[in-house]
C-alpha cells in the first residue's frame, strides 16, 4: 500500500478511484432502482427537452446567443382571485429573453385535474416586452363521460401535454394577433410552417420573416375553477431552447448527463465483479495445478490453454447475439474466458515456490496440502495476484463497451458504450454531435486509466527487478 501511494501514478490513480466510487455510491442512492427501463428508455419523460441540443456552456464560445431551455412550474406564488361563481388562479412566469433565436418549441403540460361539476379552464397568455399580449391557448378540461360520478379526475395517469408550437388553435390566435397589431396577413398554415414561436417571441422583419424581440416576457397561465374542491395539481410551461444543461441531449431529448452519471456504477460493477471473480478462479486453479501436479495439472493446463486462446470478442458477440443481451451473461462470459490466462502464470510461479525451502520445511512439519497451498504458497503470489486483478479491471469495462458499441448492450441499463453507440448510429460522427460522442468515450478512458495507473504504480512491487533500476 505504501508503495502504491509513493509513486505519482499511484496517487493520481487512487484519487480517481475514490472519486469513481463516491460518484457511483451517489448515483446508486439517488437513482431509482429501475432507472434504465422506467426512466431512461421512456420517451415521454424527455419530451420537454430540446433534441440533440449541445451543452449550454457552448454559448460562451459562440457569437450568436442560443436559448437555454426554461421550465416554469406551478409551484411558486399564485394569485387567487374570486370571481362570480368561480375562482381564478393566476401564475405569472417571468422570462428574460436575451437569445438571438426563437424557441425551438413551447409546450404546456397539465396534470392531476379533478373537478365537481363544470370542467376547469386553463388559458395561456403571453405578455410581450412591447406591451402587446397574445391569448395563445385555452384548454377546457374534457367533460364528464356518461355515467361517470364526480369528482371527475383527469390527466392523472398520463399528463396532458400540448406542443403549443404545432397547435392549430395557437396558430390561428397568433395569426389574428399579427393581423391586428402589425397588419400582417398570414394564414394559419403558413405560420405553422414558419414556426409559431418566431412570431410570438418576435416582430415582423418586413421581409415575410420575423426577428427576435428581446426583453422581459411574462407568461400568464390562468386557471378557472368553478367549485371550492376543484383542483389543478400541476402545470408546466416550457420554452424549449437549442442548448441544454451541462452535457446536452440526444435525439430523444434525453439529458445525457443523467445517463452518463448512471454509467459510473455500471462500469465499476462490470469491471470489479469480473476482475475479482476471474482473479479468484485463476489463482485457485493456478495454485492447485502447480502444486498438485500430475493429472490434475494436465487437465487444468489443457483446459486453460484452450480457453485462454479462444478469441474473446467474436465469441462474446456470438453469445450475446444468440442467447440475448444481458449484463450478467456478458459478465459470466468474460469470467469464463478470463481466468485461464492467470492460471497459467500463477502455475509457473507456484512451480518455483514449491521447490523452495519454505514449502519443504512446512511439508516436513506435516502441514496438510491445502494448508501449504493457501497459507504458505498463496501469500507469496499475493502481490502479483492483486496487481493482476487491478490490471484486468479495465479489460472487462472495455469489452462491455465494445459489445455495447456493436449494438449488443443490455437494453435495460444505459452504459457509456450504449450512449456512444446511439450517437454513432444516429450519424453523430458525420454531422458533428461531439457532445454525444466525446463524453462517454472520455469517461470509459478515464475509468480504464484509473486502474491502469494503479497497476502501473504496483509494477515495482510485482517486478522487483524494475525497483532496482528506479
Amino acid at each position: 500500500m505504501k508503495e502504491l501511494l509513493s509513486s505519482g501514478s499511484g496517487k493520481i490513480g487512487a484519487a480517481f478511484f475514490i472519486a469513481l466510487v463516491i460518484i457511483s455510491i451517489g448515483v446508486i442512492v439517488a437513482y431509482p432502482a429501475n432507472f434504465g427501463l422506467r426512466y431512461w428508455s421512456n420517451p415521454v419523460l424527455w419530451a420537454d427537452n430540446p433534441q440533440v441540443a449541445p451543452p449550454s456552456w457552448t454559448n460562451l464560445f459562440s457569437s450568436e446567443k442560443h436559448l437555454e431551455t426554461k421550465v416554469f412550474e406551478s409551484t411558486g406564488q399564485a394569485e387567487r382571485l374570486s370571481e362570480p361563481g368561480a375562482t381564478r388562479i393566476v401564475y405569472r412566469f417571468n422570462l428574460n429573453y436575451a437569445a438571438d433565436e426563437a424557441p425551438s418549441f413551447t409546450s404546456l403540460t397539465v396534470q392531476n385535474v379533478s373537478y365537481q361539476d363544470r370542467p376547469p379552464i386553463i388559458a395561456v397568455t403571453v405578455q410581450r416586452p412591447d406591451g402587446k399580449s397574445i391569448g395563445l391557448y385555452q384548454l377546457i378540461v374534457s367533460g364528464p363521460r356518461p355515467g361517470e360520478q364526480p369528482p371527475f379526475r383527469r390527466y392523472y395517469d398520463t399528463p396532458f401535454r400540448v406542443q403549443l408550437s404545432g397547435e392549430p388553435n395557437v396558430a390561428s390566435a397568433v395569426s389574428d394577433f399579427l393581423e391586428q397589431q402589425f397588419s400582417l396577413p398570414i394564414s394559419d398554415q403558413d405560420l405553422l410552417v414558419k414556426g409559431v414561436d418566431q412570431a410570438v417571441f418576435g416582430v415582423p422583419d418586413g421581409d415575410g420573416g420575423f426577428k427576435v424581440l428581446k426583453g422581459n416576457y411574462t407568461i400568464r397561465v390562468d386557471t378557472l375553477l368553478y367549485n371550492q374542491s376543484d383542483s389543478v395539481g400541476h402545470l408546466k410551461y416550457v420554452v424549449g431552447g437549442s442548448v441544454f444543461g451541462l452535457l446536452g441531449t440526444d435525439t430523444l431529448g434525453r439529458d445525457l448527463s443523467v445517463g452518463l452519471l448512471f454509467g459510473f456504477p455500471v462500469a465499476l460493477f462490470i469491471g470489479l465483479v469480473t476482475s475479482v471473480v476471474t482473479t479468484f478462479i485463476g489463482t485457485v486453479t493456478g495454485i492447485v495445478s502447480g502444486y498438485m501436479g500430475g493429472k490434475t495439472d494436465t487437465v487444468i493446463q489443457r483446459a486453460s490453454d484452450i480457453l485462454a486462446n479462444i478469441p474473446l470478442l467474436p465469441i462474446l458477440i456470438f453469445l450475446a447475439f444468440i442467447v440475448g443481451q444481458n449484463l450478467f451473461l456478458i459478465i459470466l462470459i468474460l469470467i469464463a474466458f478470463g481466468w485461464p490466462g492467470l492460471t497459467i502464470l500463477i502455475r509457473s510461479m507456484v512451480l518455483q515456490i514449491r521447490s523452495g525451502n519454505l514449502v519443504e520445511a512446512t511439508m516436513t512439519l506435516g502441514a496438510s496440502k491445502s494448508r501449504i497451498m493457501f497459507r504458505h504458497i498463496f501469500p507469496q503470489t499475493a502481490p502479483f495476484v492483486f496487481a493482476t486483478m487491478i490490471f484486468s479491471t479495465p479489460a472487462a469495462i472495455l469489452a462491455e463497451a465494445s459489445l455495447s458499441f456493436l449494438g449488443l448492450g443490455d437494453p435495460s441499463l444505459p452504459t457509456w458504450g450504449q450512449i456512444l453507440e446511439s450517437g454513432f448510429q444516429n450519424g453523430g460522427v458525420y454531422v458533428g454531435y461531439w457532445w454525444w460522442i466525446l463524453p462517454p468515450g472520455l469517461l470509459i478512458v478515464i475509468t480504464a486509466m484509473t486502474f491502469v495507473l494503479l497497476a502501473l504504480a504496483l509494477e515495482p512491487v510485482v517486478n522487483p527487478r524494475l525497483r532496482r533500476v528506479q
Binding site: I317, S402, V445
Partner: protein
C-alpha cells in the same frame, strides 16, 4: 527434433481451440433452437429451387405438389430436422467448417450473391489487408521506440512514454477511430469518412491504389494508435529485463560497442518474450479490427459482423464467428513457428 514436437503440441492446442469454439457455437445454436431455424430456411431454399426445375417437366399441379412435398420430407430427414439437435452435432460441425450455411437473410455479396460463404470470403482479404498493415507499422514503431526507451530508463521521455502506453491500453480502439473521424474528416476534411474506395472508383491502377491507401489511412492509424503503446512498453520491459542479465554486463566488460551489445546480446535474447507478448495481443487486435471496420465502414468481415447483427442474420454471424476463430488460430500458428525460429532453446 524437439522443435517439431513443440510445434505439434502447439498445433494440437490450437486445433483444440478451433474445435472447442466450434462446439460452443453449435451447442449454443442447437440449445437455443436457432439451428432448427437455420436448417429450416436451408430446406425451404432447396425446395424452392426444386419446385422451379420440376415445374419444367411435371405439368399437373397436384402431382407437382405431391412430388415437392415428398422431396421436402426427404430433405428434412436428410438434414435431421426431425431429430433432436444434438444428434446432428457432427453434421453441423462439418457444415460450419465448410461454411455451407445456406444463404443470408438480407445481406448480399458485392456481386449480389446471397450465399453466406460468398459474402464472408470476399471480405476476408480486406480484413487481412487492414490488420497486417497495422500490425507491421505498430511492430516497426514499437520496436524502435521500445529499444530507444530501454536505453534511457527513467528519463523524462521514458516516463512520458510509459504513461502514454498506459493511456493506449485504456483507449477503446473504436473511440480513437471516432475521434479521428471527428477531427480529420469532419473538422479538417482531410480524409474520407469511411469506405475503401471513392464512389466512382478511379480507373488507373496507380490512382486506385492511392485511393485505397487514402481510405485506409485513418483505420490503420486507429489500429496503430491503439496497439503501438503496448508494443513499445513490452519491448522496453523485455529489453530492460535482459539488459540486467550478467552476460550483458560481461559483453560490455569485453568492451563491445553499445549497439553491438544491444543488437546481439539483448534484442536477440529478448525477442522470444516480445513475440509472446504479441501473441497475447493478437486476439485484442483482431477484436480491434472488428470495431475499427465498423466505425470506418471498411468492407471487411468486422463491418459485416456489425451489419449482420443489425440485420439479425444468424447464418452470417455464425460464419463470421468461425472465420474470426480460424483467422486467429492460423495467425497464432504462424507466430508459433516464428517463435521456434527465434528461440534456440526450443530447437536444441
Amino acid at each position: 527434433m524437439k522443435a517439431a514436437r513443440v510445434l505439434a503440441v502447439r498445433g494440437a492446442t490450437l486445433f483444440g481451440v478451433l474445435i472447442v469454439s466450434l462446439l460452443l457455437v453449435i451447442v449454443v445454436l442447437g440449445a437455443t433452437g436457432v439451428s432448427d431455424r437455420m436448417i429450416d430456411s436451408l430446406v425451404n431454399e432447396q425446395v424452392r429451387g426444386l419446385r422451379q426445375s420440376l415445374a419444367q417437366t411435371i405439368r399437373d399441379p397436384d402431382q407437382l405438389e405431391r412430388v415437392v412435398s415428398e422431396q421436402r420430407q426427404q430433405l428434412i430427414s436428410f438434414y435431421g430436422l426431425d431429430r433432436p439437435w444434438y444428434t446432428r452435432l457432427p453434421d453441423m460441425v462439418w457444415r460450419v467448417f465448410t461454411l455451407d450455411l445456406g444463404s443470408a437473410r438480407t445481406l448480399k455479396s458485392f456481386e449480389g450473391s446471397t450465399r453466406v460463404s460468398d459474402i464472408v470470403l470476399e471480405r476476408l482479404p480486406n480484413t487481412i489487408i487492414l490488420v497486417t498493415s497495422a500490425l507491421v507499422i505498430s511492430a516497426v514503431i514499437g520496436l524502435y521506440v521500445g529499444v530507444k526507451l530501454a536505453t534511457r530508463v527513467g528519463s523524462r521521455l521514458d516516463r512520458a512514454m510509459s504513461y502514454l502506453s498506459a493511456v493506449s491500453y485504456a483507449l477503446p480502439t473504436w473511440w480513437v477511430g471516432i475521434l479521428l473521424i471527428l477531427v480529420l474528416s469532419f473538422q479538417v476534411r482531410l480524409f474520407p469518412f469511411g469506405g475503401i474506395i471513392s464512389a466512382p472508383a478511379p480507373q488507373d491502377p496507380l490512382a486506385r491504389a492511392l485511393d485505397v491507401i487514402w481510405h485506409a489511412a485513418l483505420p490503420v492509424a486507429t489500429l496503430v494508435v491503439a496497439s503501438v503503446g503496448g508494443w513499445a512498453y513490452a519491448v522496453r520491459t523485455m529489453v530492460l529485463n535482459t539488459a540486467q542479465e550478467d552476460f550483458v554486463t560481461a559483453a560490455r566488460a569485453k568492451g563491445l560497442p553499445e549497439n553491438v551489445v544491444m543488437r546481439r546480446h539483448i534484442i536477440r535474447v529478448a525477442a522470444p518474450p516480445i513475440l509472446t507478448n504479441i501473441v497475447l495481443g493478437l486476439a485484442a487486435s483482431l477484436g480491434g479490427a472488428i470495431l475499427t471496420e465498423t466505425v470506418f465502414n471498411w468492407p471487411g468481415m468486422g463491418r459485416l459482423y456489425f451489419d449482420a447483427i443489425m440485420a439479425l442474420d444468424e447464418n452470417v454471424v455464425v460464419a463470421l464467428t468461425f472465420m474470426f476463430t480460424v483467422l486467429y488460430v492460423v495467425s497464432r500458428f504462424v507466430l508459433e513457428v516464428l517463435y521456434i525460429m527465434l528461440d534456440p532453446r526450443v530447437r536444441y
